[in-house]
Symmetry: C2
């Protein structure tokens, strides 16, 4: 039996928010939780000790990137990702599916699986539900995800349905394969269904009833308006079994965390907090600020008063501003630590609010004072990212 | 009276090596010592806590860079560099002279001082011996250096003599100016004289007898063969008063440290350990290795067995190799920490050897087993650096 359990400690009386505890072989995870992303077996610029100090309880690593470099057999020969990257807490690996669609080239999709060319060197690789279970067994995370098909936005209802049904068949294959490779790992199911309300409901029912101890919700945050994401989630949550933790893949920002919790999400992961930090965007209780702005040039106080992160406890906003202006590497670390601490502290605040049954008030307060990045800034960042990705090819 | 003192604890019976202790307002410094360089108020990619853990006792910051960005008045308004950069140990600032020659443009040299254009934005700045003392007072380091003229290699004997004599006059002006701005700072003298044995001896005698509590040796390691550096040093040391600490500016590598100590040097500073680390060059007891090399791809042990640095205690060479191959920022930190620890541990080993009067045996053992970077690699690195510098203009 895998050492995995999920206990619910409190449920909001007026929303789907809940507070709980996930038990894994590498430790406990209080929920709601934000999971920092360590794409290439490192959360960019942050050490494992700093992740812990910032409040991280579980991190995510990307199967797609690690299977290409340094390769899962090498990581396996070191005893898995935990010793390889010097992280001894809980860990989750995704299936690589999403990156095959977003980064890989010349994909060939069949019932068996997907053939793609690496974005690094053009080499050809095949992923099947079974092969992904083997790779994730070699990586050795506590929680693993099955190969899925992430339908693009927009998709026709017919394409969405086909992708969902094939994903469901692949998930059944993944369940069987996992038992062959590393039965002690916890395999989450993935709900798909694109942007069709009936498909989302159907997928939630089918995957929710399969023997997965936890459920990830995929195929969202792929370019659709935010309102559509929340709408889709509102179809999914009511269909999911209460006693399994719910993970919303690839989301999000501080405001996403606050809203998503109310729609029943327990676990979040996203590169956004560290990525925007590297470009100067730092989170504060009143919204996202750009630390490059000249108004910080001589600010004696920290980036945020009363913030208890390493950055704010030890450095003035003026010094952080100086570091990014001079493109010093220490900046990327200090900015990333601040944003990760913000996300983890926010998850903790949400948990406290749910335990006291005052989540709706907390949410409304937060959203009233937090000014997210403007749509213009968001669009610019998306475009920069797309250009950067296309250059990697 | 400044809280500065230098005590000699042991002297080698067969070389000029000695072991001592420097007292400063921010703490003690055992000598011989290597000083990590924090060019822009940060030792690239390493935090102050990590510097301490690596054994750093004193760090150096560059007046030229800081006067341009963020400017010394801003740093002064924060109470100086110590609180600004969150380093509470001893600190030394150079005079900016060397960078004016190596980075600045359109210099105009006169008896008064030097006019140059910033390599960042072309803005015009004037440095005089008095102005440098004012800027260094605003930066607030424990040890400060006076404006000097670093004659290029090669120089004519006449040019070398003129530069030396003007430097001597500037140093007298610096001594007077320092009393006006921040008398509690410790002003070291700088010995010049280019590559003329008689000038080196003369400068050592003159500067050595002026009321400087410590002495820096400048104008070396500017492109001349290493043998010439050591030869020049051998003219300088015998002329210097025994009771003042000696600092060799801008040197060097592990082998330089070992040789320089035998020629009477107490303090070293150089960007080399962190710069070569960023390009993959890591120090080991048997020489410099390139961690990018494929032989490290699956090396289970650390970069160096028995090394007690953070990197080697916690990560395999294979992981460090993976990080540099994937250009992950954590690499730059782990590599820099390892090399700084190596230099500081080496300084400590030298000190122990001197205290036991077995420095010559330690030196010979070290040089017999340590394979420095090849001349070809060294030349390539110099060229890359020159290209990088010219691009900054």
């Amino acid at each position: 039996m895998p050492e995995f359990s999920f206990t619910i400690e409190a449920e909001c009386s007026t929303s789907w928010a809940r507070a709980g505890t996930i038990q894994t072989p590498h430790g406990e995870i209080p929920t709601p939780i934000f999971m920092p992303v360590g794409t290439q077996a490192t959360v960019k610029s942050v050490s494992p000790e700093e992740l812990k100090a910032a409040g991280a309880k579980i991190i995510l690593a990307n199967t797609y990137h690690l299977m290409l470099r340094p390769g899962s057999p090498l990581i396996d020969s070191f005893g898995g990702l935990h010793p390889f990257m010097h992280w001894d807490g809980p860990m989750l690996t995704d299936s690589g599916g999403f990156q095959v669609w977003s980064l890989g080239h010349l994909r060939k999709l069949s019932e068996d699986g997907v053939v793609f060319k690496s974005h690094l060197d053009g080499s050809t690789h095949t992923l099947t539900p079974e092969r992904v279970m083997q790779i994730e067994a070699e990586l050795g995370a506590d929680i693993v995800l099955p190969l899925d098909i992430c339908a693009p936005y927009p998709s026709t209802p017919r394409d969405a349905k086909e992708a969902m049904e094939r994903t469901h068949r692949w998930e059944e294959r993944a369940l069987r394969a996992k038992e062959r490779y590393r039965p002690e790992q916890t395999l989450f199911g993935i709900v798909q269904g694109a942007f069709e309300s009936d498909l989302r409901r159907e997928s939630a029912r089918i995957i929710g009833n399969m023997p997965f101890p936890g459920l990830s919700i995929g195929g969202l945050s792929v370019g659709e308006p935010k309102e559509m994401l929340w709408e889709m989630l509102s179809y999914v949550t009511p269909e999911l079994p209460r006693n399994k933790p719910r993970h919303l893949l690839g989301v999000g920002s501080p405001e996403d965390l606050v809203i998503g919790v109310g729609l029943g999400v327990d676990m979040f992961d996203c590169v956004l907090p560290t990525r925007v930090a590297r470009h100067g965007g730092l989170f504060t209780q009143s919204g996202r600020v750009n630390i490059k702005a000249s108004r910080f040039r001589s600010q004696r106080g920290p980036v945020e008063e009363d913030c208890t992160c390493y950055t704010c406890r030890n450095y003035s906003a003026a010094y952080v501003h100086h570091l990014i202006r001079t493109e010093e590497q220490l900046y990327y670390r200090l900015g990333s630590i601040h944003n990760l601490h913000f996300m983890l502290h926010l998850a903790d605040q949400l948990r406290t609010a749910i335990l006291a049954d005052r989540y709706p008030a907390f949410r409304d307060d937060f959203l009233a004072r937090y000014v997210p990045a403007s749509e213009r800034i968001r669009e610019e960042q998306r475009n920069k990212w797309k250009i950067a990705m296309s250059r990697q090819v």
